[in-house]
Symmetry: C2
Subunit: 772 residues, 2 copies
């Protein structure tokens, strides 16, 4: 029950959102959850990870491959399809346990009904492969004309991207090849359709097959489709491999492919499924969030990361944002450290792009792209939103001022190293990334001679409605962390890998390097809680802005899609923020602030938060759990976990379409459930569990992968149970407020009493303003 | 001929601009050039210098006094006036030699014509007084009903300002009194109308008189009006003084008042008239510009300065901008140093307001108001322009980021001291102003640890279309000057006035003070000319902006009044600038840059300048003259000098009315003619003359007041003649390129050969990038 997503009728209004909701994929490609007869107008797309193209001066974006799932029917000469005929019944379903998409549509035909089913999956076993099974059953005899093959008319936002299209048929395999416009990368899609019934007529046109056959009432007519996608990024001759792959698949047969796919999925779920007892709605939503992360995880490549809209299309240019490190990484760290490493290696591979960007702004080091694609050069334009009132492009500062991206990357790398103990990442380029980011901040910072401190000026923090602010608390806190990490990393390498350290450090001999980092750190300003109110000011002079209720701001809106930020946006001159900013900082540095500070800031900032980003609600859920008020957090968790199920998210900013899936929210849902409500915290040595379950939840149970060892954790209101796999190498120290610390040895299971939220303050920093 | 401004017909379209063009005034009050029958709808106003009021949360602005010139006619029961009856002929004229306004209107009446004349002046002899002479002559007998008195229904932009209005008649004198809403200042206007003819009926209503009389064909009916305006800023009982003043005036009689007024004007013109030989159009325009400065000069008070729209109404809140120091001060320095001193003492008196503003922004010292009124607190709001597309107030940064204002004030003070040698200004508060402004900049500046220099970040320079920029060349150059002046001033006082110095310096003992100024100065960044192009970048990354022709920018305009700056303004992302910025800097520091640098920057920036401010063209005229290309400059001079004659200036910014007179342009016209084309430069010791006359001009002749001595200077293409008044105390060193330096002793006249523009480069800094 809690594995199934379904719609029991067809609605034109949901074509676009269902394309996201029913998405399948395997990290190599994403396949939008469109129906078989859909084309580019319905946003059908097979989006390729890491293949980007720019067309005619427009925004660079990922390439959508020709669609080999394309299938259309005619019955007795009339076109059948949800867009042409009102179906008698229609069901679309996605089984997230194995990522199998299915549709069943019943059409009225002369003298009876025709039932069409199509089942498909993007193979998790063979990352280039897709397969589908179709069936037709009618209650009266009829003539069917089937049109199926590869639809090259793909959806593009800023296309076209595919040139020199060639379509051919090679001994039953249809092949569609093209090259991308900018990089001349060959893209090949092969397809084979196999059936066992007798046909009246078969024809080809381009990469489409036309098959006519008569069907008898009551008989089941079934056929299969095998498809494969390759690009020149995978191999030197994608066409050959695509055809080969399809032939191999056909030889194996649908059932065998499906079984291998399901097995791969079972393994994934074993590593990551999180059980919620007592709340089926939340259970499905959380699983669905995890599902969304699994279908886009780059398990097979360290050259790509996860775009902000996953692989659900070309929205946001298929670009990788801070979302990955700050909102998705924790899920992978706890369940699939190998993929976590890939995500971070992507930053290593794009370091040169970040260096180029820093140099472009006259800075040292590495300033990571706000919108990162294959090279690490910034895909973000200076005019990223159009003004709905004038239609003009609006100067925004995402690209040039959201400097926290470099600190987010460093934070991600250091999280990985601390969490996994895998220091090889540092030697494989991670240390260089860390130091170059610290060098960037040193050169970006200014010293205030009167206040005798370094400050970070003219930035945009997470709250993008307030651009170009000074001393954004979140940014400054992360910059400080970057400097600390740069020094810690150097110390670690000096001790553990002195030779490599000296080789690496050589390039920074002229500075700024450790001496400068140390000096900056010693007089670096991070906004602190006010001694009276405990509030942390989001940035300099934030508290002087017009302080109006969110409802009043909304009442001032003149156009439904007007952007609240930018040059003249309504929020810019008020205290209304787009998304968690100070509160996000309190989550990132949760052990540095007292519960009282967290609570005061939660209570102050939440009513002022528009949650105009899907990255926002999960953070309020996390901090609510952290302060022992999980029920404050529960609605934010649900909002986060259901964003792609309900489709209730912002679809436009200005006149820019921003729909698609929301991997950061998906990762945020997992964080809220596991790191928030279950209260899991692992610092590389000790597993701390401080549960704060919402009222409905009786327990949370999940697997954890810690430093290469496997554990299962069950957290209920009364007790915490940890069981270690027999094959684990090390014992794990487990602690929880209100219980003595215990060591969980390989193969053992231990139980701790759960003190619950009431004892959350027992770690001794309550009522202190900050723990530092 | 070159003293007369006139219109020979009435046009409704010109009511507002003629109100500016025909303005009279005396520095205490401005009287708009409206006709006698006009009321508030026609923007009739007597604007009081230095009397401000805020009403109902709206913008604080100067108070307009009730209008005692108000006069309406009926003839045979029908109302006569240009708004009611189409006149047979109409003439409005202003004799700028004595600031006498006159109108003559001929109306058709039954059986013939009626000629109405009204002559008036705002006394330059008695600053509280106004007087007028009226006459009527008809070609056929008729019955006249005259309504005259004090019109309390005054024009207000953000009124009402006058409360508790009381109107009374005291033995023939009408008195209108009221109090301002905010400060409860009493305002009194008294009026007396005197005639010699027989009347049929006389009545009063409030402060209006109704006089009916029969007139005979051919006879002249004449009457006089005496009026006075006082406020509680002048005396404790303004009503008493107003009535007294009117009685005294009436006793003296119109002719005597007029004679005294004319005598005062003759004296002013003797000090300031500038003759242009060979160009009558330019002559009138320049004289008219000087006239505009004379009618608003605060000769009698050091508590007021000159607002950006003079005394022509309430536009720009009647506030004082940098216009005074940077565009008007030179005229007064050269012609009326006493008034120049008043203007600067106004800044001394408003120092506390500037201190409050600095503190408000967390800075030390004095941050002068961008829009300064009586207290020096900033009248500029954070939302100074409305967006024409949404009607919403737009966040602008005039108030918080145009920090150069404090440097402009310092520059003005030091100009005055150097020019006049009058060091008393420093002891009377000028030194404190200088030091507090330097302290402000020290606390505003940031140190860049990588570039090892102090920078000025996040400012708006003169080009207000580019807000919040870093290292604006103009601002940084003036900040450096401020630091230099602060140190020079300290040195001067230490040597000359050690006791006063130590008393003054005591308050800065805790710093930042001289030590810090010196340190900042030693590593302070001012953008320098590029070695190849000689261009100075207006601010960091200006050269990276979209570089489009002005015409293309204008073609993008969607609404005639849309603001090109602000959050989303069209110019903000392009190289198009509002007004001279780098080129202004080259003029302010003219001896520090080579001719080649000036020319390269003139040629680069001029085509990119929108001249969206009336402060812009004069600067291009000045620098054109400086580089020996006066004919490039002439059109800019003419545009500047005629701005209030033609009324061809921007009337709206967004939906904000900004019409009125343009004293900065008036001062700019004088600067262009005298400091530009005539090439006058006095550094406190030597008069340097480097003429570059436009083609049409054969000579320029003018008086100069230098260090208390009087001179006349005549500059032709061939020679320069300087004559010194016999009463002068000191000899003056005069030099000119291509001629040996000569000493001009009291009573002497000397002639130098003029090398003309061709030798302009002879001062030895040509082809050097900068002289520093």
């Amino acid at each position: 029950m809690s594995w199934m997503v379904e719609d029991r009728e067809f609605s034109r209004e949901h074509i676009v959102t269902n394309g996201n909701k029913y998405m399948t994929g395997n990290g190599y490609m994403g396949c939008r959850g469109t129906l078989e007869e859909f084309g580019k107008e319905q946003l059908a797309a097979i989006t390729l990870a890491g293949v980007y193209d720019q067309s005619g001066g427009k925004w660079r974006e990922p390439v959508n491959a020709p669609n080999p799932l394309f299938t259309r029917l005619r019955c007795n000469g009339e076109r059948l399809g949800v867009l042409n005929a009102e179906p008698l019944s229609h069901r679309q379903e996605l089984n997230i346990s194995a990522a199998v998409h299915k549709r069943e549509t019943v059409y009225s035909i002369s003298g009876g009904e025709l039932t069409f089913t199509a089942e498909r999956f993007v193979s998790m076993d063979q990352l280039h492969g897709l397969a589908a099974r179709f069936s037709l059953v009618a209650t009266s005899d009829c003539r069917i004309e089937l049109e199926t093959g590869i639809d090259s008319e793909v959806w593009d936002i800023n296309g076209p991207h595919l040139y020199g299209l060639q379509e051919q048929s090679i001994e039953g395999v249809l092949l569609s090849t093209a090259v991308t416009g900018e990089l001349n990368l060959r893209v090949a899609v092969a397809e084979m359709t196999v059936h066992g019934f007798e046909t009246q007529e078969t024809a080809w046109e381009g990469a489409r097959r036309f098959i006519a056959f008569d069907i008898k009432a009551g008989a089941v007519y079934e056929w299969f489709k095998y498809a494969a996608v390759y690009t020149e990024l995978d191999c030197s001759d994608p066409a050959v491999l695509a055809v080969q792959n399809v032939r191999t698949a056909e030889a194996a047969g649908y059932e065998q492919l499906l079984a291998a796919h399901c097995k791969a999925w079972a393994k994934r779920w074993k590593q990551s499924d999180c059980l919620i007892e007592g709340d089926d709605t939340a259970q499905l939503a959380l699983r669905y969030s995890i599902y969304q992360l699994l279908i886009i995880a780059p398990t097979g490549s360290e050259k790509v990361s996860i775009p902000a809209r996953g692989l659900s299309g070309q929205v946001y240019k298929g670009a990788v944002f801070w979302d990955t490190e700050m909102f998705m990484l924790p899920f992978f760290l706890h369940t699939d450290p190998g993929t976590a490493r890939n995500l971070l290696m992507y930053r290593v591979h794009t370091l040169d792009g970040a260096r180029r960007k820093a140099a472009e702004y006259g800075c040292h080091g590495a300033f990571y792209a706000w919108e990162s694609q294959d090279t690490g050069d910034d895909a973000c334009t200076l005019f990223n939103v159009n003004d709905v009132f004038t239609g003009r492009p609006m100067r925004t500062y995402f690209r040039d001022k959201q400097v926290h991206i470099s600190a987010d990357v460093v934070h991600g790398i250091w999280q990985y190293v601390s969490f996994t103990g895998d220091e090889s990442l540092l030697l494989d380029g991670g240390a260089e990334v860390i130091w170059e980011c610290a060098r960037f901040f040193y050169s970006y910072a200014y010293y205030n001679p009167v206040k005798r401190r370094y400050e970070i000026l003219d930035v945009t923090g997470p709250d993008e409605y307030h651009e170009r602010v000074n001393n954004n608390a979140f940014t400054n806190a992360l910059v400080r962390r970057t400097l600390e990490v740069a020094l810690e990393c150097a110390e670690l390498l000096q001790i553990m890998y002195p030779e490599q350290y000296h080789r690496l450090a050589l390039q920074f001999a002229e500075g700024p390097f450790l001496k400068e980092f140390q000096e900056m750190l010693e007089s670096f300003f991070v906004p602190q809680p006010d001694p009276d109110t405990l509030l942390i000011e989001q940035f300099d002079r934030y508290f002087k802005l017009e302080d109006i209720p969110l409802a009043e701001l909304k009442a001032r809106v003149l156009h439904p899609n007007e952007y609240l930020g930018g040059g003249n946006g309504l929020a810019t001159t008020t205290t209304i923020l787009k998304q968690a900013d100070v509160v996000l900082m309190l989550n990132v540095f949760k052990s540095s602030y007292s519960r009282a500070v967290k609570q005061a800031n939660w209570e102050y900032y939440e009513p002022r938060t528009e949650h105009g980003s899907s990255l926002s609600p999960c953070i309020y859920a996390l901090v609510a759990a952290d302060i022992g008020s999980p029920d404050w957090g529960y609605p934010y968790f649900m909002r986060t976990a259901t964003v792609d199920l309900t489709g209730e998210s912002k679809q436009y900013v200005g006149d820019l379409y921003i729909g698609g899936t929301h991997p950061a929210a998906n990762g945020g849902a997992w964080m809220a459930a596991v790191l928030g409500f279950a209260g899991v915290q692992f610092d590389g040595k000790t597993l701390q569990v401080k549960p704060a379950l919402p009222e409905q939840w009786t327990a949370v149970e999940l697997p954890l992968s810690l430093r290469g060892d496997s554990f299962r954790l069950r957290v209920s209101r009364e007790e915490i149970t940890v069981s270690a796999a027999a094959g684990n190498r090390d014992a794990l120290m487990v602690c929880s407020p209100g219980s003595a610390d215990q060591l969980c040895r390989p193969g053992a299971e231990l139980t701790l009493r759960a003190a619950g939220a009431a004892a959350a303050g027992a770690n001794g920093i309550d009522n202190a303003i900050a723990a530092e």
